[in-house]
C-alpha cells in the first residue's frame, strides 16, 4: 500500500491510472502494453479480470472482456500475467478490477493472498458496495492489499461511511452510467469531488468517461489521479491485429504511448 501512496504523491499533475483488460488482445500483448504505459508515464495500472456479466462496464470493455474469455483467459491466467509483468520489469503499482462473483468463487482470503503473491497492490470490486464488503475488507487488510471503494455522484449521504474505510485510494465515478467515453461530465462534478476529497483519508482518483486532454485538465485541480479505461481499450481494439502480432506490435505500442502523451501534456 506504500507503493500506491507514493504513486499518488506527485505534485506536477494528477497520477495517471490507465486500465487494461487482462488477456486482451492476447496475454503477451497485455504485458507489452503495461510496459509501454509505464514508459509513457502511467503511475498505477488498473488491470481488469475478464468476466461474463460486467454490470458496471460499457460496450467497449465488455466486448474486450468477452474476447479475452473466448480466447481462454482465466482467473489463474490473470495472476500469471501479473507475475510475468513483474518479471518483465514492471515496477508501478497494479490494482486488479474483478467482479464480486470472481472473487467469491475463489474465496476472499485465497483471492487477495494470491493477488499479493503475484505482485499486485490493490483490488477494486465494482459491484460490491460498502455494506457487502466486510469480509473482503478484513481479508485484504490481512494480506496488505488495498481495497479501493467506488463513490458515485448519487452516493450523497453514503460518502463519508464509504471513504472512511478506504485503503489505497478512492475511485470517484465522474458520471452516472457505465464506463465509456463521454463528452459531458456530471454537472456537479466539482462539488462532488470536493466532498469526497474532504472526507477521504486516502487519495481520490476520478474515472468513467474521461478520454480527452481538456477533460483531464478540467478535473486536475480537484483530484489526485485520473483513470482512463474505455478510450484506451478502444485504441487497443482498433490495433488488435497489430498488437497480437509480435512483428507489428512495435508501431501499435508507439500509438498507445502517443495517446498517453497527448492526454497528459
Amino acid at each position: 500500500m506504500a507503493a500506491l501512496a507514493q504513486a499518488f504523491a506527485r505534485t506536477d499533475r494528477p497520477a495517471f491510472v490507465p486500465f487494461l483488460v487482462a488477456g486482451y488482445p492476447t496475454p503477451e500483448a497485455t504485458v507489452e502494453l503495461a510496459l509501454a504505459l509505464e514508459e509513457a508515464g502511467a503511475d498505477v495500472l488498473e488491470l481488469g479480470v475478464p468476466y461474463s456479466d460486467p454490470l458496471a462496464d460499457g460496450p467497449v470493455i465488455q466486448t474486450a472482456a468477452a474476447a479475452a474469455l473466448a480466447r481462454g483467459m482465466t482467473v489463474a491466467g490473470v495472476f500469471e500475467l501479473l507475475v510475468q509483468m513483474r518479471r518483465a520489469g514492471l515496477t508501478l503499482p497494479v490494482v486488479l478490477l474483478a467482479y464480486a462473483n470472481t472473487v467469491l468463487q475463489k474465496g476472499e482470503r485465497a483471492f487477495v493472498d494470491r493477488l499479493r503473491a503475484s505482485g499486485g497492490d490493490g483490488l477494486i470490486v465494482p459491484d460490491l458496495p460498502h455494506e457487502e464488503a466486510g469480509e473482503l475488507r478484513a481479508a485484504a487488510a490481512a494480506a496488505e492489499v488495498a481495497l479501493v471503494p467506488l463513490v458515485a455522484p448519487t452516493s450523497r449521504g453514503r460518502i463519508a461511511r464509504i471513504v472512511t474505510e478506504a485503503t489505497g485510494f478512492v475511485y470517484a465515478v465522474s458520471s452516472l452510467g457505465v464506463t465509456g467515453e463521454r463528452d459531458a461530465l456530471h454537472p456537479d462534478l466539482r462539488a462532488f469531488l470536493a466532498d469526497v476529497r474532504a472526507a477521504s483519508p486516502v487519495p481520490v482518483a476520478v474515472g468513467f468517461g474521461l478520454h480527452r486532454r481538456e477533460q483531464v485538465r478540467a478535473v486536475a485541480p480537484f483530484v489526485d489521479g485520473v483513470i482512463v479505461g474505455s478510450a484506451l481499450v478502444r485504441l487497443v481494439m482498433e490495433r488488435e491485429d497489430d498488437l497480437a502480432s509480435p512483428a507489428r506490435r512495435g508501431e501499435a505500442l508507439a500509438a498507445v504511448r502517443r495517446f498517453v502523451a497527448n492526454l497528459l501534456n
Binding site: K106, D127, P129, E132, L150, V151, V173, G177, V178
Partner: protein, 397 residues
C-alpha cells in the same frame, strides 16, 4: 413467524445488494417507497381497483376434473393466472410496480423480458399509466417470440434487442440495469421476477402473493381444506413465490418448484439452477447460479424462453436450503407432453413455462390418494408458444 428478508435484504445467506455504487441510493429509495407507499390505504385501493376492473382478478380456481380422472390419483386444481389481462401472472407485478413508480415521480419504465410476457405486461401498464417504456430483450428471444415484440411495439414501447453475451434473458437484465444506472433520476427499473438486488425479491413477491392468497381462499371454499402439494414452475421464480408465500407457514402443505431440465440434467442444455448450480452473485443478488469454476455465468437452455435463466430468486435458494420447499426439474419433452394432455383433457393451452408445473403435478398426483389435492399455478397461457409448440409437435399430431 417467517420474516424474511432481514433489514439487509437477506434470506439467510442469500439475497443482498451486489450492484455498482451508483445504484445504491436508488435501491434505498425504492425500499423506502416499498415500506411506506405499498401499505398506504389509498395506494392499496387504487391497486385493488385496477386489479379488479382492468386485470380481471380474482382469477378462477379450476378443478381439472378430466385431467384428474385421466391421471387416476389426486384431485388437481389449477390457479388460472392465464386468464389475467395480457395472459400471465406478470401483470400483477407490473401493475403494482408501475403504480409505485408513478407515486415516486418517475416518468419512464425500463424492463427486461425473456418470453416477452413481462415486457408485454410492462408495456401495457406503461400505456395505462401514461409512462414511457423501454424493454430490453435478448436478440435470440426477439426471434423466438416475435409476436410479443410486435405486441409491445403496438402498445407504444421501445423494444431493444440485446446482442451481447448469450443474447437471452440474462443479457437483457444486464442491459436494463445499465440503462437504469444511466437514467436513475427519472427512470424506474420494473424488474419482472423475484430476482435482483434488495428490495426487488421482496417487492415482487409481495405483489405476487395475491395468487396464493386467492387460491387458498378459493380452495377452502371449494373443498374445505388446504392442498397437500402446491406446484409451480421456477425460472426467476415469481409465480412460485406468489403462490408459495400464502402457504409458507402451513407445515402440512408441501411446496414444489419445477425448473427446466431442458434436454436433460445429464447434458449442458438445461436451466436447472437450484438442482445443478451453486451459490454466487449475479444481477445484484447472492443466489444459486449455473457458472464455471471462475464464476463466469454459463448459457442455459429451455424450450421455454421464460425459464432459461441461469439464476433464481434468492428466497427460493433459501427455501431449498431450509428444506421448506423442494425443487425438481422437468424436461422439454415432458413439458410438451403436458401441453398435449392439458389441452385435450381440459381445453386449456398452458404456456410452456406452466406446462413444466403441470407435468410435475401429474407425476405427483398419480402417486397420491384420490382424496388428496394438488394445487398447480397455471402461470400463463400458451398463445405465445403456439409457434414453438408447432415446431416441436407439428408432425406428431
Amino acid at each position: 413467524m417467517y420474516r424474511y428478508p432481514d433489514e439487509r435484504g437477506k434470506f439467510g445467506r442469500f439475497g443482498g445488494r451486489y450492484v455498482p455504487e451508483t445504484l445504491m441510493q436508488a435501491l434505498e429509495e425504492l425500499d423506502e417507497a416499498r415500506r411506506t407507499i405499498l401499505p398506504d390505504p389509498a395506494f392499496r385501493r387504487e391497486l385493488h381497483e385496477l386489479l379488479t376492473t382492468y386485470v380481471g382478478r380474482p382469477t378462477p380456481l379450476t378443478y381439472a376434473e378430466r385431467l384428474s380422472e385421466a391421471v387416476g390419483g389426486a384431485r388437481i386444481f389449477l390457479k388460472r393466472e392465464d386468464l389475467t389481462h395480457t395472459g400471465a401472472h406478470k401483470i400483477n407485478n407490473a401493475l403494482g410496480q408501475g403504480l409505485l413508480a408513478k407515486r415516486m415521480g418517475k416518468r419512464r419504465l425500463v424492463a427486461e423480458t425473456g418470453a416477452g410476457q413481462h415486457g408485454v405486461a410492462t408495456a401495457t401498464v406503461a400505456a395505462r399509466l401514461g409512462l414511457s417504456c423501454t424493454v430490453y430483450m435478448g436478440e435470440v428471444d426477439t426471434r423466438r417470440q416475435r409476436l410479443n415484440v410486435f405486441r409491445m411495439r403496438l402498445l407504444g414501447a421501445e423494444v431493444v434487442p440485446v446482442t451481447a453475451g448469450s443474447r437471452t434473458l440474462k443479457d437483457a437484465v444486464n442491459e436494463a440495469i445499465r440503462d437504469w444506472v444511466a437514467h436513475v433520476d427519472d427512470t424506474h427499473y420494473l424488474l419482472g421476477s423475484v430476482v435482483g438486488p434488495h428490495p426487488y425479491p421482496a417487492l415482487v413477491r409481495d405483489l405476487q402473493r395475491i395468487i396464493g392468497d386467492e387460491a387458498k381462499a378459493q380452495l377452502r371454499e371449494a373443498t374445505g381444506r388446504l392442498p397437500n402439494v402446491v406446484v409451480a414452475c421456477v425460472g426467476g421464480g415469481s409465480n412460485a413465490m406468489g403462490i408459495f408465500t400464502a402457504f409458507l407457514e402451513d407445515d402440512g402443505v408441501a411446496l414444489v418448484g419445477v425448473e427446466a431440465a431442458g434436454k436433460g440434467l445429464d447434458t449442458d442444455a438445461h436451466a436447472a439452477t437450484l438442482t445443478k448450480g451453486r451459490p454466487g452473485v449475479l444481477h445484484g443478488m447472492y443466489t444459486y447460479l449455473i457458472q464455471d469454476d471462475d464464476g463466469n455465468v454459463q448459457e442455459v437452455h429451455s424450450i421455454s424462453a421464460g425459464l432459461d435463466y441461469p439464476g433464481v430468486g434468492p428466497e427460493h435458494a433459501f427455501l431449498k436450503e431450509t428444506g421448506r420447499a423442494t425443487y425438481v426439474a422437468v424436461t422439454d419433452a415432458e413439458a410438451l407432453e403436458a401441453v398435449k394432455l392439458l389441452a385435450r383433457t381440459e381445453g386449456i393451452l398452458p404456456a410452456l413455462e406452466s406446462a413444466h408445473a403441470v407435468a410435475e403435478a401429474v407425476r405427483r398426483a398419480r402417486e397420491m390418494d384420490k382424496d388428496a389435492i394438488v394445487l398447480v399455478c397455471l402461470s400463463g397461457r400458451g398463445d405465445k408458444d403456439v409457434e414453438t409448440i408447432h415446431h416441436h409437435l407439428g408432425g406428431d399430431l
